[in-house]
């Protein structure tokens, strides 16, 4: 239905920019462009980050799968392996704790005047990404291939209809959010 729009490069750049404005606005209003909020999450003192992420996943999961049911959206699962996903994820996590922002919130933090996000964070991320590009040929043939499980979704894995997984995940997310609120976090 929107395939002409999808192929229109300049309009796509504009749409990306506009969606980014909405995303940045919501990140700032949600409070997660603030170092204090993110670090308190990782210290398990404040659950704003988890609340925002789980609500976004809840709404997005139902919405995207509804669009897909009507033939209006395609999924884009990323491939993974134990070597890539687990090791890369843990390296990212360590960086997340030291920086106190992630790649999206660091951009938002810079825009609210956080100089540590700009001179520490952005510069660091650019250096780290460049370093990965330099080491990529060596990693690609070795560790990144360890324990590949491919670009699959949970419904693919269990060989069931997507909604068979969505319904319990929705209940799980609501239960988690309820428990977090009940614990006063």
């Amino acid at each position: 239905m929107f395939s002409n729009l999808h192929a229109d490069k300049s309009r796509q750049l504009l749409i990306g920019f506009l969606i980014g404005i909405g995303f940045g606005f919501l990140l700032q209003k949600g409070g997660v462009t603030d170092y204090n909020v993110i670090i308190r999450q990782l210290l398990l003192e404040d659950f704003t980050v988890v609340k925002i992420m789980l609500t976004a996943v809840l709404v997005g999961m139902i919405g995207v799968h509804l669009l897909r049911s009507f033939g209006l959206a395609k999924l884009h699962p990323k491939p993974g392996s134990i070597g890539t996903t687990v090791i890369g994820g843990l390296i990212f996590g360590a960086g997340f704790a030291l920086l106190g922002y992630c790649p999206g919130t660091v951009a938002g933090a810079v825009a609210t005047g956080a100089l540590d996000a700009l001179f520490g964070g952005i510069v660091g991320i650019l250096v780290g990404a460049g370093l990965f590009a330099a080491l990529y040929p060596r990693l690609e043939s070795g560790i990144l291939r360890k324990g590949e499980f491919g670009a699959i979704t949970l419904p693919d894995l269990f060989k069931v209809n997507a909604w068979v997984v969505i319904v319990p995940v929705v209940l799980l997310i609501i239960g988690l959010l309820w428990a977090i609120e009940r614990a006063g976090l």
């Binding site: 993974g80 890369g88 704790a97 920086l99 100089l115 540590d116 660091g124 040929p137 693919d156």
Partner: protein, 175 residues
């Protein structure tokens, strides 16, 4: 309406719900999941290209992720603009050298904070490209598509983050 726009913070459920809707819009209008980390890899490549020239383009990684402005790059640019508008509207914009929680644990140590942020940033840039996504690409967009690698990645982001944050604040800085 104006009061709503100038509020300092919104409920995390409103902000999160809005981000979920934006994910749907991105799939519908652009056939793309939201993600932020490849924009940094591309920018790094663009900077390298401006110093080393076209040799940079021979790197296998930049053949996969060309150092050029794309949809995600514009998205990250938009994040900066959107967060700036929100901060200005709510009067939250202020130049900040060292964040409060850091100051309480480690004092007003600009050099140490920026150095730590740099090391953290480098690990994030490296780790996000290693894992193939970040808190938005895997953590939100991937998990909402129920992607196996994204659920594992999101868990690892938080496991690594919680362990290192606890070590840093409870042991190293002793707060």
């Amino acid at each position: 309406m104006i009061e709503w726009l100038t509020m300092v913070t919104w409920s995390p459920y409103v902000a999160g719900g809005g981000i979920g809707l934006l994910c749907c819009v991105a799939f519908l209008l652009s056939d793309k999941p939201l993600g932020c980390s490849t924009a940094f890899a591309r920018t790094s490549g663009m900077l390298e290209k401006s110093v080393r020239g076209n040799k940079t383009l021979d790197k296998p990684y930049y053949k996969k992720f060309a150092p050029e402005i794309d949809w995600e790059w514009m998205l990250v640019l938009g994040v900066i603009v959107g967060a700036f508008i929100s901060a200005i509207l709510s009067g939250a914009f202020r130049i900040l050298w060292v964040p409060e929680e850091w100051m309480q644990a480690a004092g007003y140590s600009v050099g140490i904070r920026w150095g730590t942020a740099f090391v953290g940033g480098a690990l994030i840039g490296f780790g996000a490209r290693w894992a193939g996504g970040c808190t938005s690409g895997h953590g939100i967009s991937g998990t909402l598509q129920l992607v196996v690698s994204s659920w594992i990645a999101a868990c690892c982001f938080f496991i690594g983050g919680i362990v290192v944050a606890m070590l840093l604040f409870r042991v190293v800085l002793g707060g």
